[in-house]
Symmetry: C2
DNA sequence: GTAAATTAAATTGTATACAATAGATTGAAA
DNA sequence: TTTCAATCTATTGTATACAATTTAATTTAC
Protein backbone atom coordinates (compact mmCIF):
# COMPACT_ATOMS: atom_id res chain seq x y z
CA UNK A 1 0.00 0.00 0.00
CA UNK A 2 1.16 3.46 -0.88
CA UNK A 3 2.45 5.72 1.85
CA UNK A 4 -0.31 8.09 2.84
CA UNK A 5 2.32 10.81 3.23
CA UNK A 6 3.17 10.59 -0.45
CA UNK A 7 1.13 13.77 -1.00
CA UNK A 8 3.52 15.67 1.26
CA UNK A 9 6.62 14.87 -0.76
CA UNK A 10 8.23 17.90 -2.32
CA UNK A 11 8.43 16.17 -5.68
CA UNK A 12 4.65 15.77 -5.77
CA UNK A 13 3.88 19.45 -5.34
CA UNK A 14 2.82 21.61 -8.28
CA UNK A 15 3.59 24.92 -6.64
CA UNK A 16 7.20 24.12 -5.83
CA UNK A 17 8.63 23.80 -9.36
CA UNK A 18 6.66 26.89 -10.33
CA UNK A 19 8.19 28.78 -7.43
CA UNK A 20 11.70 27.59 -8.31
CA UNK A 21 11.35 28.33 -12.03
CA UNK A 22 10.09 31.79 -11.27
CA UNK A 23 12.99 32.55 -8.94
CA UNK A 24 15.63 31.05 -11.20
CA UNK A 25 14.49 32.92 -14.26
CA UNK A 26 14.25 36.20 -12.37
CA UNK A 27 17.79 35.52 -11.19
CA UNK A 28 18.92 35.24 -14.80
CA UNK A 29 17.64 38.73 -15.51
CA UNK A 30 20.07 40.19 -13.00
CA UNK A 31 23.19 40.69 -15.15
CA UNK A 32 21.14 42.23 -17.94
CA UNK A 33 19.13 44.42 -15.61
CA UNK A 34 22.23 45.45 -13.69
CA UNK A 35 23.52 46.92 -16.93
CA UNK A 36 20.60 49.35 -17.01
CA UNK A 37 20.44 49.72 -13.23
CA UNK A 38 17.00 48.19 -12.73
CA UNK A 39 15.75 45.42 -10.47
CA UNK A 40 13.23 42.91 -11.78
CA UNK A 41 10.34 44.62 -10.00
CA UNK A 42 11.42 48.00 -11.32
CA UNK A 43 11.72 46.46 -14.79
CA UNK A 44 8.17 45.09 -14.92
CA UNK A 45 6.86 48.41 -13.60
CA UNK A 46 8.76 50.18 -16.38
CA UNK A 47 7.33 47.75 -18.92
CA UNK A 48 3.81 48.84 -18.04
CA UNK A 49 4.81 52.49 -18.23
CA UNK A 50 6.69 52.08 -21.49
CA UNK A 51 3.44 50.85 -22.93
CA UNK A 52 0.92 53.08 -21.13
CA UNK A 53 2.96 56.22 -20.36
CA UNK A 54 0.83 57.14 -17.34
CA UNK A 55 -1.13 55.29 -14.70
CA UNK A 56 -2.08 55.50 -11.03
CA UNK A 57 -0.66 53.21 -8.39
CA UNK A 58 -3.82 51.16 -8.01
CA UNK A 59 -4.01 50.43 -11.73
CA UNK A 60 -0.34 49.64 -11.91
CA UNK A 61 -0.79 47.26 -8.99
CA UNK A 62 -3.57 45.44 -10.78
CA UNK A 63 -1.37 44.96 -13.84
CA UNK A 64 1.55 43.69 -11.76
CA UNK A 65 -0.37 41.86 -9.01
CA UNK A 66 1.41 44.01 -6.43
CA UNK A 67 0.01 46.25 -3.71
CA UNK A 68 1.04 49.72 -2.59
CA UNK A 69 3.16 48.21 0.17
CA UNK A 70 5.46 46.84 -2.49
CA UNK A 71 5.00 49.50 -5.12
CA UNK A 72 5.50 52.63 -3.05
CA UNK A 73 9.22 52.04 -2.40
CA UNK A 74 9.78 50.73 -5.93
CA UNK A 75 8.19 53.82 -7.47
CA UNK A 76 10.13 56.13 -5.19
CA UNK A 77 13.33 54.51 -6.43
CA UNK A 78 12.30 54.92 -10.06
CA UNK A 79 11.48 58.54 -9.35
CA UNK A 80 14.92 59.06 -7.77
CA UNK A 81 16.53 57.62 -10.87
CA UNK A 82 14.58 60.08 -12.95
CA UNK A 83 12.62 57.51 -14.94
CA UNK A 84 9.17 58.43 -13.67
CA UNK A 85 7.29 61.24 -11.98
CA UNK A 86 4.84 60.82 -9.08
CA UNK A 87 2.05 63.35 -8.76
CA UNK A 88 -1.20 63.45 -6.83
CA UNK A 89 -4.43 63.77 -8.77
CA UNK A 90 -5.74 67.31 -8.36
CA UNK A 91 -9.36 66.16 -8.36
CA UNK A 92 -8.79 63.26 -5.97
CA UNK A 93 -5.81 63.73 -3.73
CA UNK A 94 -5.87 60.07 -2.69
CA UNK A 95 -4.76 58.98 -6.13
CA UNK A 96 -1.13 59.13 -7.16
CA UNK A 97 -0.33 59.29 -10.85
CA UNK A 98 2.86 57.77 -12.10
CA UNK A 99 4.15 58.92 -15.47
CA UNK A 100 7.18 58.09 -17.53
CA UNK A 101 9.83 60.77 -18.14
CA UNK A 102 11.95 61.32 -21.24
CA UNK A 103 14.79 59.60 -19.46
CA UNK A 104 12.50 56.67 -18.69
CA UNK A 105 11.39 56.57 -22.28
CA UNK A 106 15.01 56.54 -23.42
CA UNK A 107 15.71 53.52 -21.22
CA UNK A 108 13.46 51.49 -23.48
CA UNK A 109 16.12 51.37 -26.17
CA UNK A 110 18.65 50.01 -23.72
CA UNK A 111 16.21 47.34 -22.54
CA UNK A 112 15.04 46.15 -25.91
CA UNK A 113 17.58 43.33 -26.20
CA UNK A 114 16.78 41.85 -22.80
CA UNK A 115 13.87 39.57 -23.75
CA UNK A 116 15.96 37.85 -26.44
CA UNK A 117 18.93 37.54 -24.10
CA UNK A 118 16.76 35.88 -21.48
CA UNK A 119 15.32 33.63 -24.15
CA UNK A 120 18.81 32.37 -24.88
CA UNK A 121 19.45 31.73 -21.17
CA UNK A 122 16.30 29.71 -20.63
CA UNK A 123 16.51 26.32 -22.22
CA UNK A 124 12.96 25.60 -23.17
CA UNK A 125 11.65 24.32 -26.46
CA UNK A 126 9.32 26.64 -28.31
CA UNK A 127 6.39 24.31 -27.89
CA UNK A 128 6.90 24.01 -24.15
CA UNK A 129 7.37 27.75 -23.81
CA UNK A 130 4.10 28.36 -25.64
CA UNK A 131 2.25 25.81 -23.53
CA UNK A 132 3.72 27.23 -20.33
CA UNK A 133 2.69 30.70 -21.41
CA UNK A 134 -0.81 29.50 -22.19
CA UNK A 135 -1.36 27.61 -18.96
CA UNK A 136 0.11 30.24 -16.66
CA UNK A 137 -2.00 32.96 -18.27
CA UNK A 138 -5.07 30.80 -17.95
CA UNK A 139 -4.30 30.31 -14.26
CA UNK A 140 -3.51 33.95 -13.80
CA UNK A 141 -6.95 34.74 -15.16
CA UNK A 142 -8.57 32.84 -12.32
CA UNK A 143 -6.83 34.89 -9.65
CA UNK A 144 -8.78 38.10 -10.07
CA UNK A 145 -12.14 36.43 -9.36
CA UNK A 146 -11.11 35.39 -5.82
CA UNK B 1 4.70 47.44 -39.47
CA UNK B 2 4.80 45.97 -36.03
CA UNK B 3 6.13 48.04 -33.16
CA UNK B 4 9.69 47.02 -32.42
CA UNK B 5 8.96 47.51 -28.72
CA UNK B 6 6.37 44.76 -28.83
CA UNK B 7 8.91 42.43 -27.18
CA UNK B 8 8.99 44.71 -24.12
CA UNK B 9 5.27 44.48 -23.43
CA UNK B 10 4.47 42.80 -20.15
CA UNK B 11 1.92 40.57 -21.85
CA UNK B 12 4.60 39.12 -24.11
CA UNK B 13 6.87 37.96 -21.30
CA UNK B 14 7.05 34.34 -20.24
CA UNK B 15 8.61 34.95 -16.86
CA UNK B 16 5.95 37.36 -15.66
CA UNK B 17 2.94 35.00 -15.54
CA UNK B 18 5.18 32.38 -13.96
CA UNK B 19 6.23 34.85 -11.31
CA UNK B 20 2.63 35.89 -10.63
CA UNK B 21 1.32 32.31 -10.52
CA UNK B 22 4.03 31.34 -8.10
CA UNK B 23 3.31 34.24 -5.78
CA UNK B 24 -0.46 33.85 -5.94
CA UNK B 25 -0.39 30.15 -5.19
CA UNK B 26 2.07 30.62 -2.33
CA UNK B 27 -0.33 33.25 -0.99
CA UNK B 28 -3.12 30.70 -1.01
CA UNK B 29 -1.11 28.46 1.28
CA UNK B 30 -1.12 31.09 3.99
CA UNK B 31 -4.40 30.35 5.80
CA UNK B 32 -3.62 26.63 5.85
CA UNK B 33 -0.02 27.11 6.91
CA UNK B 34 -1.01 29.66 9.54
CA UNK B 35 -3.06 26.92 11.16
CA UNK B 36 0.10 24.90 11.75
CA UNK B 37 2.30 27.96 12.34
CA UNK B 38 4.56 27.51 9.31
CA UNK B 39 5.55 29.85 6.52
CA UNK B 40 5.82 28.54 2.96
CA UNK B 41 9.60 28.35 3.13
CA UNK B 42 9.46 26.55 6.46
CA UNK B 43 6.86 24.19 4.98
CA UNK B 44 8.97 23.12 1.99
CA UNK B 45 11.95 22.64 4.29
CA UNK B 46 9.81 20.44 6.52
CA UNK B 47 8.64 18.47 3.48
CA UNK B 48 12.21 17.50 2.71
CA UNK B 49 12.81 16.54 6.34
CA UNK B 50 9.56 14.62 6.64
CA UNK B 51 10.83 12.49 3.82
CA UNK B 52 14.55 12.30 4.61
CA UNK B 53 14.63 12.77 8.41
CA UNK B 54 18.14 14.21 8.37
CA UNK B 55 20.26 16.29 6.06
CA UNK B 56 22.93 18.97 6.06
CA UNK B 57 22.26 22.57 5.05
CA UNK B 58 24.04 22.28 1.74
CA UNK B 59 22.01 19.26 0.68
CA UNK B 60 18.79 20.84 1.85
CA UNK B 61 19.68 23.92 -0.15
CA UNK B 62 20.17 21.88 -3.30
CA UNK B 63 16.74 20.30 -2.84
CA UNK B 64 15.07 23.64 -2.28
CA UNK B 65 17.20 25.84 -4.56
CA UNK B 66 18.00 28.05 -1.60
CA UNK B 67 21.33 29.11 -0.13
CA UNK B 68 22.49 29.36 3.46
CA UNK B 69 21.67 33.05 3.49
CA UNK B 70 18.02 32.13 3.24
CA UNK B 71 18.09 28.83 5.03
CA UNK B 72 20.02 29.79 8.16
CA UNK B 73 17.27 32.02 9.60
CA UNK B 74 14.54 29.62 8.44
CA UNK B 75 16.20 26.67 10.15
CA UNK B 76 16.80 28.66 13.33
CA UNK B 77 13.08 29.40 13.42
CA UNK B 78 12.18 25.74 12.95
CA UNK B 79 14.61 24.85 15.71
CA UNK B 80 12.99 27.41 18.02
CA UNK B 81 9.62 25.85 17.34
CA UNK B 82 11.04 22.47 18.27
CA UNK B 83 10.51 20.83 14.88
CA UNK B 84 14.16 20.25 14.06
CA UNK B 85 17.58 20.05 15.66
CA UNK B 86 20.75 21.69 14.33
CA UNK B 87 24.04 20.05 15.10
CA UNK B 88 27.57 20.38 13.72
CA UNK B 89 29.19 17.33 12.18
CA UNK B 90 31.83 16.05 14.60
CA UNK B 91 34.11 14.95 11.75
CA UNK B 92 33.71 18.15 9.75
CA UNK B 93 32.78 21.13 11.85
CA UNK B 94 31.89 23.17 8.79
CA UNK B 95 28.86 21.00 8.14
CA UNK B 96 25.61 21.52 10.01
CA UNK B 97 23.20 18.61 10.24
CA UNK B 98 19.52 19.30 10.44
CA UNK B 99 17.27 16.55 11.76
CA UNK B 100 13.58 16.27 12.39
CA UNK B 101 12.32 15.92 15.98
CA UNK B 102 9.33 13.92 17.24
CA UNK B 103 7.38 17.13 17.38
CA UNK B 104 8.36 17.84 13.79
CA UNK B 105 7.34 14.35 12.82
CA UNK B 106 3.99 14.83 14.51
CA UNK B 107 3.35 17.97 12.49
CA UNK B 108 3.12 15.81 9.39
CA UNK B 109 -0.32 14.60 10.39
CA UNK B 110 -1.55 18.14 10.74
CA UNK B 111 -0.16 19.06 7.31
CA UNK B 112 -1.45 16.08 5.40
CA UNK B 113 -4.65 17.77 4.24
CA UNK B 114 -2.92 20.85 2.87
CA UNK B 115 -2.09 19.61 -0.65
CA UNK B 116 -5.72 18.69 -1.29
CA UNK B 117 -6.93 21.99 0.16
CA UNK B 118 -4.60 23.90 -2.14
CA UNK B 119 -5.76 21.77 -5.05
CA UNK B 120 -9.30 22.95 -4.41
CA UNK B 121 -8.15 26.61 -4.32
CA UNK B 122 -6.29 26.47 -7.59
CA UNK B 123 -8.60 26.29 -10.55
CA UNK B 124 -6.67 24.29 -13.05
CA UNK B 125 -7.84 21.36 -15.10
CA UNK B 126 -6.06 18.10 -14.46
CA UNK B 127 -4.54 18.04 -17.91
CA UNK B 128 -3.15 21.55 -17.57
CA UNK B 129 -1.84 20.82 -14.09
CA UNK B 130 -0.02 17.75 -15.40
CA UNK B 131 1.44 19.65 -18.32
CA UNK B 132 2.49 22.53 -16.07
CA UNK B 133 4.13 20.06 -13.70
CA UNK B 134 5.93 18.38 -16.57
CA UNK B 135 7.24 21.56 -18.18
CA UNK B 136 8.30 23.25 -14.97
CA UNK B 137 10.19 20.15 -13.85
CA UNK B 138 11.86 19.91 -17.24
CA UNK B 139 12.93 23.52 -16.94
CA UNK B 140 14.03 23.06 -13.37
CA UNK B 141 16.25 20.25 -14.54
CA UNK B 142 18.20 22.67 -16.74
CA UNK B 143 19.04 24.98 -13.84
CA UNK B 144 21.59 22.81 -12.11
CA UNK B 145 23.86 22.56 -15.18
CA UNK B 146 24.51 26.34 -15.24
C1' DG C 1 -25.02 68.82 5.62
C1' DT C 2 -22.75 65.79 8.50
C1' DA C 3 -21.49 61.18 10.31
C1' DA C 4 -20.15 56.80 8.67
C1' DA C 5 -18.27 54.00 5.28
C1' DT C 6 -15.19 53.53 1.60
C1' DT C 7 -11.12 54.23 -0.94
C1' DA C 8 -6.02 55.00 -2.16
C1' DA C 9 -1.39 55.29 -0.62
C1' DA C 10 1.77 55.01 2.73
C1' DT C 11 3.66 52.90 6.78
C1' DT C 12 4.98 49.17 9.92
C1' DG C 13 6.41 44.68 10.90
C1' DT C 14 7.75 40.13 9.49
C1' DA C 15 9.75 36.90 6.35
C1' DT C 16 11.95 35.82 2.45
C1' DA C 17 15.74 35.87 -1.34
C1' DC C 18 20.20 36.59 -2.82
C1' DA C 19 24.78 38.78 -3.72
C1' DA C 20 28.82 39.49 -1.45
C1' DT C 21 31.66 38.82 2.24
C1' DA C 22 33.47 36.81 6.43
C1' DG C 23 34.96 33.10 9.50
C1' DA C 24 36.17 28.69 10.46
C1' DT C 25 37.56 24.32 9.02
C1' DT C 26 39.34 21.01 5.99
C1' DG C 27 41.90 19.36 1.96
C1' DA C 28 45.55 19.64 -1.32
C1' DA C 29 50.01 20.70 -2.94
C1' DA C 30 54.68 21.89 -2.53
C1' DT D 1 54.05 20.17 7.27
C1' DT D 2 52.91 24.28 6.22
C1' DT D 3 50.82 27.30 3.14
C1' DC D 4 47.17 27.95 -0.09
C1' DA D 5 42.84 26.78 -1.98
C1' DA D 6 38.38 25.12 -1.40
C1' DT D 7 34.27 24.29 1.27
C1' DC D 8 30.41 25.15 4.41
C1' DT D 9 27.71 28.09 7.15
C1' DA D 10 26.73 32.52 8.90
C1' DT D 11 26.43 37.46 8.39
C1' DT D 12 25.52 41.86 6.12
C1' DG D 13 23.17 44.73 3.07
C1' DT D 14 19.63 45.49 -0.29
C1' DA D 15 15.23 44.64 -2.31
C1' DT D 16 11.15 42.49 -2.47
C1' DA D 17 6.36 40.79 -0.85
C1' DC D 18 2.48 41.05 1.88
C1' DA D 19 -0.61 41.40 6.04
C1' DA D 20 -2.29 44.76 8.91
C1' DT D 21 -2.81 49.28 10.17
C1' DT D 22 -2.83 54.25 9.50
C1' DT D 23 -3.78 58.55 7.30
C1' DA D 24 -6.06 61.45 4.39
C1' DA D 25 -9.54 62.26 1.12
C1' DT D 26 -13.87 61.26 -0.94
C1' DT D 27 -18.49 59.23 -1.19
C1' DT D 28 -22.59 57.53 0.61
C1' DA D 29 -26.44 57.50 3.78
C1' DC D 30 -29.40 59.52 6.38
Amino acid sequence: MKDKYEVLKLENQLCFPLYVCSKEIVKRYKPFLDAIDLTYTQYIAMMVLWEHKEMNVKELGSYLFLDSGTLTPVLKKLEQKGYITRKRDSDDERVLHVAITEQGEALKDRAIEIPAQIGRCVQLELEDAQKLFEITYKLLGTFGEE
